[in-house]
Amino acid sequence: MHQKTIAELSQALAQGTYSSEELTKHYLQRIKQWDTSLNSFITVCEETALASAKSADEARRQGKAGPLTGIPMAQKDIFCTNGIKTTCASKMLENFTAPYDAMVVEKLNAQGMVMLGKTNMDEFAMGSSNEHSHFGPVKNPWNLDCVPGGSSGGSAAAVAARLVPAATGTDTGGSIRQPAALCGITGIKPTYGRVSRYGMIAFASSLDQGGPMTQTAEDAALLLNAMAGFDERDSTSLDAPVPDFTADLNQPIKGLRIGLPKEYFSAGLDPAVGDVIMAAIKEYEKLGAIITEVSLPNNHLAGPAYYVIAPAECSSNLARFDGVRYGYRCKEPKNLEDLYKRSRGEGFGEEVKRRIMIGTYALSSGYYDAYYLKAQQMRRLISEDFKRVFEKVDVIMGPTYPSIAFKIGEHSKDPLEMYLSDFYTIAINLAGLPGLSIPAGFANSLPVGLQIVGPYLNDSKLLNVGHQFQQHTAWHQKIPSQFAK
């Protein structure tokens, strides 16, 4: 069963090949069996999962099943779930249970999907290796010594090992696409505002976007159909009609104009990764796409802009975790200041504190103009680069990440080194554009992701382009041998 995609499971459930309850038990069993080595889940909710599987089967009997009804999935532990712990992988929220469901949770529940649990992640979604979790690092199913990427590392590892058919992720600077790439699965960061942020614990509000992490582009389209849509509770959510994201999947891509930014293929890119990407591009050429070189001259500004804006917003967004109303509170505070300092000092991990400090500094009086305002100006330049390029090409392609998965602990001494590796993904968040990562092959036996970026609101286009590749390749079907059986 676990070799199957959502599209296939949906069909099997519809045909009565097996029930949702059987399916759910199967995946719960896999989690029990394998997750001790992966650590991809923070919370597994066996009881509620079985209960929702039963109601999904009941709904099916009554003829009320939709395409996603009864299909197991997992939520990144950044989405609030009513009555089930939401920790954001932080000691700060280790015992926090939200009294409400995030919009994404509400919507997927409404489809009758079965939530198996909450996946591990970098604390408050800050990190690209999933080493920064209060609940311990997640391992890459392709090599347990390696990181799965981050911050949605738990979701990526769980889907790659087929502990769950699909999961949700969030992406502030690559947190869906990068772990998808390093674990060999498909992940899309939709256009900013497509998916409601309501109930998604904020890291950097102007960059955060939720999205699906799946085996295939088709599955991503199916999930996005359920996740996307205007939400009046999120003022930044897009009040635009939501298309059927599966409608264009089978459109031929003959004549598709693909731009390869020369800045993406320069120093810093692991040549083995570069080779895999070029082979994938060749595949697209075979399908009739037209390849041109383009330039994003301001791409080098993405890192500096991102590492001011994201920490600035996070320093304010995380101020609510103060030990006063909920979450971690230090023992026997001497006074108010002590309560704040120790609750936050003890409750947050190193990476979170580092970013809060950077952001606080960037916003402080006398530095605001030099950092925050400058970063916003750079952000506009980056957006304009993309606008110009999309006058000439339909999509941009390149590597999602400059290397394959690295060893756990390899970059822990120098956080800057890890920040610098995000430069293919962060510009997309700064511009608010949709970005998709699909498995493109292997280098040194580890997966490589191809990133496809499109113009604003062209999410369907990306899924179509990804799906066409997956119709002619089998990279997305590869399962780490250890987890295949």
């Binding site: 609030c80 995030a102 109930g199 003022s235 304010s316 995380l318 609510r320 006063v324 109303r325």
Partner: protein, 479 residues
């Protein structure tokens, strides 16, 4: 040295919306602690603010009423600081781009003097919760019912030169927000709060002195006292060779003094930046035009109309327009009684005001409605009763003994205007007082008053005084 006082005021006006500025929770005052705070107000993880459109209407309405520029694009910003009653660790406010820009408000200082006070800006923001220190031994209670209540912060230019001017400005502003129906202006409940920036400078100097900010003064009386205290304090410091420290001070009404709260050095760095959870607020001319249509007659317009249409003095007109309800009460009485405006003013500002004050009521809780008072004044006007009798009837009405007509009827207080009824009384009085009559006729004119008094006494005050006067004079001279 002669000193000049310079005062600028920041007023926080609570907007009277049903729900909060960024959440759907109720804003009603006085509920049990934390029963009117939803997830957004509690600052739960994952929740997001959604702007209440009513607050935008109200802010624009205010801006239009003070001739201010309305920003077509304004931005909500986060003001970051830690405090237990500030659940998110930041307050959503407006910083660089407020919704209301420069405007002005005219204040009446006396019969002739009007002073124009500049308004620097007005912006929308959310209120914080309350810290309760009293009921918890060694702990602090937090009530977040008030968190997220919409406020309009109105900042004036440093244009006021005395406590009197500051109070006049506040009263004018208070009346204005109530006219606009954007706030109930209830000062006890904190719907209208004032911070005062005060500095001194040698008379004739244009450069501003260093200011102290006095926080949270919650009555007109305290504003006056706090400013006067602060002015004295600053003059003393300056004249003894010291200098004023820029700081925030708190007014203690029990001791009638201001005390230092925090200096500039201790002040927070608020790290303002645009709130990424809220889009910039865009307002077009059509929107502004629609709101313009809903503007009521403003206090100064009403005052001018009262002076012109009813021939009232500026003083009387000013008193009447101080509140929208009072002005409406006056106009209802005037219309229904058809009595002269001056008579109505005298009754409303005289008997009625005194009665209200005595029982700490206001015009909206008056025991005598405008229609009831109109009936009473109509009876004066049509000579059914005299002004003096009317005061007795008014007392009866206040005590709930019925309306004017029924009291007149019941107690037989109807004025006697029939000559044939008054003449016999006069004859009787003259017959009973032959000595005084003789003296009067010998030229002791002063005794006229004595006869008036006797006649009025004989008829229990019911005879029309003017008629008594005329008939008596005639009769005294006749015989």
């Amino acid at each position: 040295m002669e000193w000049e006082t310079v005062i600028g005021l920041e007023v926080h006006v609570q907007l009277q919306t049903a729900s909060k500025i960024f959440s759907g929770a109720s804003t009603a005052y006085g509920a049990l602690p934390n029963t009117q705070a939803c997830g957004v107000d509690l600052g739960l993880p994952g929740v997001l603010p959604v702007l209440n459109a009513n607050t935008v209407h109200m802010a624009v309405k205010f801006g239009l009423s003070v001739d201010a520029e309305i920003a077509h694009r304004s931005v909500f910003a986060r003001k970051n600081y830690f405090y237990p009653d500030l659940p998110k660790g930041y307050q959503i406010s407006q910083f660089e781009l407020p919704i209301v820009g420069k405007g002005h408000l005219d204040i009446q200082l006396d019969e002739e003097t009007v002073k124009r006070i500049g308004i620097t800006r007005a912006h929308l923001e959310e209120d914080a919760g309350k810290s309760l220190h009293e009921d918890f031994q060694g702990m602090t209670g937090i009530d977040l019912n008030r968190a997220g209540t919409p406020l309009l912060e109105i900042v004036s230019e440093p244009d006021m030169r005395s406590a009197n001017e500051a109070v006049a400005y506040l009263k004018t502003l208070h009346a204005l927000v109530r006219y606009l129906e954007i706030s109930d202006g209830n000062m006890q409940e904190g719907s209208f709060r004032c911070d005062a920036n005060i500095s001194m400078r040698p008379k004739g100097q244009s450069k501003l002195g260093t200011r102290a900010e006095i926080k949270n003064i919650n009555s007109f009386r305290f504003v006056e006292k706090a400013i006067n205290y602060e002015v004295e304090r600053q003059i003393q410091v300056l004249e003894s060779g010291g200098s004023i420290v820029q700081e925030t001070r708190l007014y203690d009404s029990d001791r009638d003094e201001t005390r230092s709260m925090r200096s500039k050095e201790e002040a927070n760095d608020y790290r303002y930046f645009p709130d990424p959870d809220l889009l910039p607020l865009n307002i077009d001319d059509h929107f502004i035009g629609e709101i313009k249509k809903t503007l009521p007659e403003l206090p100064h317009e009403k005052r001018q109309r009262f002076e012109k249409a009813y021939g009232l003095s500026t003083y009387d007109a000013n008193n009447l327009v101080a509140s929208r309800e009072l002005a409406e009460y006056f106009e209802t009485v005037l219309k229904e009684s058809k009595a002269p405006a001056k008579l109505v003013v005298n009754w409303v500002m005289g008997e009625l005001s005194a009665a209200l004050n005595k029982e700490s009521l206001d015009i909206t809780t008056s025991k005598i409605t405008a229609s009831a008072l109109a009936q009473l004044l109509a009876r004066i006007n049509d000579n059914t009763i005299s002004g003096k009798i009317a005061k007795t009837i008014f007392e009866g009405m206040w005590l709930g003994e019925g309306d004017a007509d029924s009291i007149i009827e019941k107690q037989g207080l109807k004025q006697i205007t029939d000559t044939s009824a008054i003449e016999p009384i006069i004859d009787e009085v003259m017959a009973n007082n032959p000595q005084q009559l003789a003296q009067y006729r010998e030229g002791k004119d002063k005794l006229f008053g004595f006869f008036i008094g006797q006649v009025m006494k004989a008829c229990a005050g019911k005879a029309n005084p003017a008629q008594v006067n005329e008939l008596l004079r005639k009769k005294l001279q006749q015989d």
